[in-house]
Symmetry: D2
């Protein structure tokens, strides 16, 4: 699995990452979402460098230009609800891409163990397509793995790009050990080494879904 | 149930409505989403005229201004997936509002009858809050009714505004007959009188979810 | 001259107005511009209620809808540089409108008196069009008057809407006394009664151009 | 002068470039501006890779992260009016950057020769700053040269990035011959070899200002 940690070299992406992590900025949920959206745009652009293009003849007011344009738009899948802002950023650059939405939840059993279930999925046919699967954060990697496997029941993508703003070392290891990594490229801004017992990244940013959309009720 | 049909008087809202209905424009899914987003902004603004304000003292570089600002932001609930663009428009104006996402699906039984089930819900505590529940289109009204009932398990909103870009006469009747309408205000741009057997509005606009996000796979 | 003070009744517009006035928020120039842009959208929508519409037949996937759409898009003129964010908001709703840009500066003479000159104008033919002329703030009204007169050399608009986020009583009086007010409608969010000796509104918001784009150099 | 032609390798930038050139798309001025805005964002990101960063300690809900953030935001100058959409894209990524606006016009004399004059400039102090000077298109290079020289009267930038969506070979040569190229980096999507007698690029895209904002009146 090819891993691209875009924040390891200096760019404005780190500015946005700094703001989504920063408790000073986190009270402004509009800005939190905006920063994830901008990060999504940058991931969209960097991923676009790996896609296939073919020449199209474009008629201009003064002649004809031959320009390499996307052969096929990717399909943009995201994990509810925290993935929505980064997904909006991806959509901002891939106008004609179809979208998939998927949700997994953790069911905790009496003896304390838990299992992750898919409760919602809406996905186009992804057979032969490039899939870009996004979430705000990669923590344990269990949800990402399960969502990815569920999406594969909608067809075999030629390649899948997994995108998260922040990631954990453990989550990346999990994906590497449990998925067919020849089919995958992983994109993130930064990798945090630690996690809390509740699977929040350390230093991380807290709960991305709550920060973007408010705390859930009971 | 108070009903506000904003498109019945002339405004730029009808321009956006014309474009989301128009098959000539529908091939441009970026614009389809943009138009729903702009309609969501206009609904956000018109609904805001009904909310409660209190005076806040604002310190400016040259003095102090007393300005009426929102007492409480509303909670913005939307129905997946077609409601997302209009919900984005609502979020664009209510920066500090929490969001709820909900999904219902139609389970068809062997004898042909169907039942609508909720499969996904993420909702903050809405007790004592103003709720704005949005979807792209109101067709039969069954999903809207069920989603609204499900959300009520997260608290009792002081008032609920239901917002859809387009609506059917039948759907509005359904809500009127089946919900406690003293708690509700209904907002839409236009009301279509007919529906197809598959519950698409006529003339309507087709399948709003597909137009925004692509056809679902099997 | 019809005067519409939109902030005199409660709406989300006042929230945006509170933020552009508030020194706490003013350090965030991105948000300052965003708020002016959102105010511009709301003015665009309210002004659109006064424009002329004609029925257009729109072919949908399931039929034909007759929808009132704009007869003619307005022309959107703005005064440099402070008017740009509110102008962006107006453009966001009038996709097909042409734009005019104009700049005036104050030339101060040795004896202390000054004269306002136009140094930049780019304007389409506005003959027979509806003109929407925007600036962030109306202070003395001298620049607005001069810019308006200059634009009239590009044709006779059927009507002109003058839009500023904040206005002074004195500025409105100036327009009323010096312009042909039958041709004008004035839109603002709030009217401040006082001005400083340097013609800043009190309480006002300070220098809108500096807040949006940074202090000018010498 | 370092020259970066970003469209020479495949990326989504070329999709946006194809659309701004394409007469089929050019009737949609909203989209024309959107595409220039998106190109501006991509230039902003690529240029950001060349800027200087310093580590900032960011306090998160679960710890402290050290993140490289911009030492100094650049100053964003643009040439009126065609540069505005690309400048908006640059502003979208550099929240805290100051902006400069400048305009030059061509004065044609009776004997047919012409001279370019600056008629409008609003510029912060740029001494010691990184300057990003944008326009939609670089044609002859005369306006760009003159605007750049004018801006230098507001201070000595440590480096200047000149950004245009499309450029001509002749225009680039002009800059190379007439400016101190050690201080300059040039960014564009594509370089066209030919120009019409009226200095429009061939194949080019036509008149970027007219396409974004409508034809000027007389």
């Amino acid at each position: 699995m090819k891993i691209n940690i875009l924040g390891s070299s200096g760019s404005i992406l780190n500015q946005f990452a700094a703001e989504i992590r920063d408790i000073q900025f986190q009270s402004d949920s509009q800005r939190f979402r905006l920063n994830l959206e901008r990060m999504g745009q940058i991931f969209a652009y960097e991923i676009s460098k790996t896609l296939d293009y073919h020449a199209r003849e474009v008629v201009t007011p003064f002649g004809t230009a031959e320009i390499p344009v996307l052969k096929n738009p990717p399909v943009l899948a995201t994990i509810m609800r925290a993935g929505l802002p980064i997904h909006k950023g991806l959509m901002n650059y891939y106008d004609r891409a179809g979208s998939a939405f998927i949700s997994a939840y953790r069911k905790v059993y009496k003896d304390g163990h838990f299992k992750i279930h898919i409760n919602y999925v809406s996905c186009p046919d992804i057979n032969g397509e490039v899939l870009i699967l996004s979430d705000a954060v990669l923590a344990t990697g269990y949800s990402m793995e399960l969502c990815y496997r569920e999406l594969l029941t909608y067809g075999n993508p030629v390649h899948t790009h997994i995108v998260t703003a922040l990631s954990s070392t453990e989550g990346i290891d999990h994906l590497r050990k449990n998925l067919d990594t020849r089919q995958l490229t992983f994109w993130t801004c930064a990798v945090d080494d630690e996690m809390t017992a509740q699977a929040f990244l350390v230093p991380g940013l807290g709960d991305a879904g709550d920060l973007a959309f408010g705390k859930k009720g009971d």
